[in-house]
């Protein structure tokens, strides 16, 4: 199908975009890369009165690394993240994950801020900011606030963002030199949304471990008990078995592809494989 009719605005400044969202009274929708919003409009699952195109706002795009923090502008595209040697050096989880985000043509348009604002539970970027303990910067016409990733994702396609706010920036801590990373996702076809996925970061000595699962619940979720089972352990077979057992505490959700118990099983498989990568 084709999208229903709408008003289209393409402001050149962030201030102008925020004014349009404030005026829109909830009926204006920001358009970033459009790789999810456009299909949703074509399916008529989304029918905004006003589309506020963010693509002409240069101040919303770009990557800076300084003072131990990575700051990524919301409309920075996946292909720009992939091409940034500075980013991939500052955070080695990016080059592991990015090739698995959809397909090349989608990565040429899709943006990190759009993915985080949409909060698809099976998408990689929300899980990435969550596992890294990142922050999301929101702004409306009256001011700015920073929300930790741990508090940002509320449910399926539901976040802390209010309709008059934009995700303007994603902040992530620069990786420690010795920090370890693991990533695995289970898909039917390369680039598809994950049936189950896992991202892990751990200190060199395995004293601290953060684990995020995605594609298995209504949002990306921290696996706290599995983290506790692995933190301070030798990381061996007994520890990872205990961590996988500890997933029983989480609430898994079925989707069209898999029932809850399958999601639970696949989460364990993804965790085991991601952990193997942490140890290499």
């Amino acid at each position: 199908m084709k999208a229903p009719d709408f008003d289209y605005e393409r402001p050149n400044t962030l201030a102008a975009a925020l004014a349009l969202l404030a005026d829109g009274d909830g009926a204006a929708e920001p358009l970033a890369g459009g790789q999810s919003l456009m299909p949703m409009m074509n399916f008529r699952l989304a029918a905004p009165d006003v589309l506020v195109d963010l693509n002409a706002i240069s101040e919303l795009s770009g990557i800076t690394v300084e003072d131990g923090w990575i700051r990524i502008g919301a409309t920075t595209r996946y292909c720009e993240l992939e091409a940034s040697e500075e980013l991939c050096a500052a955070m080695p989880l990016f080059p592991k994950v990015l090739p698995h985000v959809a397909h090349a043509a989608i990565r040429n348009r899709g943006t990190i801020g759009g993915s985080i604002a949409l909060a698809d539970p099976a998408a990689e970027m929300p899980a990435l900011v969550l596992v890294l303990g990142g922050e999301i910067v929101l702004q409306n016409a009256t001011g700015q606030r920073t929300v930790p990733a741990d508090d940002f994702f509320l449910g399926i396609f539901d976040t802390e963002r209010e309709p008059d706010e934009l995700v303007v920036e994603v902040r992530l801590p620069v990786a420690e030199h010795s920090q370890r990373f693991g990533f695995h996702e289970i898909v039917r076809r390369h680039g598809d949304y994950a049936m189950a996925g896992c991202m892990i970061t751990a200190s060199m000595t395995l004293d601290t471990v953060r684990i995020t699962l995605f594609g298995v619940a209504d949002r990306p979720v921290r696996a706290d008990l599995a983290e506790a089972a692995l933190a301070g352990s030798d990381g061996g077979a007994a520890a990872i078995d205990a961590a996988i057992d500890a997933l029983s505490d989480l609430e898994f959700e079925a989707d069209l592809n898999a029932a809850e118990n399958t999601k639970h099983h696949l989460a364990g498989v993804a965790l085991r494989r991601a952990w193997a990568e942490v140890l290499t």
Binding site: D5, Y8, I106, R109
Partner: protein, 159 residues
Amino acid sequence: MTRTTRISLSVNGELVSAEVPVRRNLVDFLRQDVGLTGSHVGCEQGVCGACTLELDGRMVRGCLMLAVQADGAKVTTVEGLADSGRSADLRQAFATRNALQCGFCTPGMLASALEYIEKGGAPDRTAIREHLSGNYCRCTGYQAIVDAVCDTIDGKVSA
């Protein structure tokens, strides 16, 4: 009432100016308003890849962009890739290897494969399949398509 706006863009090197409904996507604009029917419309949800075309040097989904978003941009369709000779070797390889049956996916396959080739991609079957994973061929001709891409990279064809 359908809302419209005027846009100007370069299509295959020619300046095009038109009044378009803001809801019209880029591939529909190219097919219906400009008359370039090489880019195909398949799923209209970004899954099949048949509408893949080049926008400002990057291959994108023509169905996941509005025509109005291409205002001021440089668009190259499968026709433009052929006319400039950029896709000549790849097209010859597709013909030689029987890399198309019905041909519906071919414009998108050519565009996506050309991006891989022009970026210096290796004749590695797994990497080529991963790059083309966003393009569906319902005649199940992937083997021959990957053969054609490998042949082009290996310089085994001359158009």
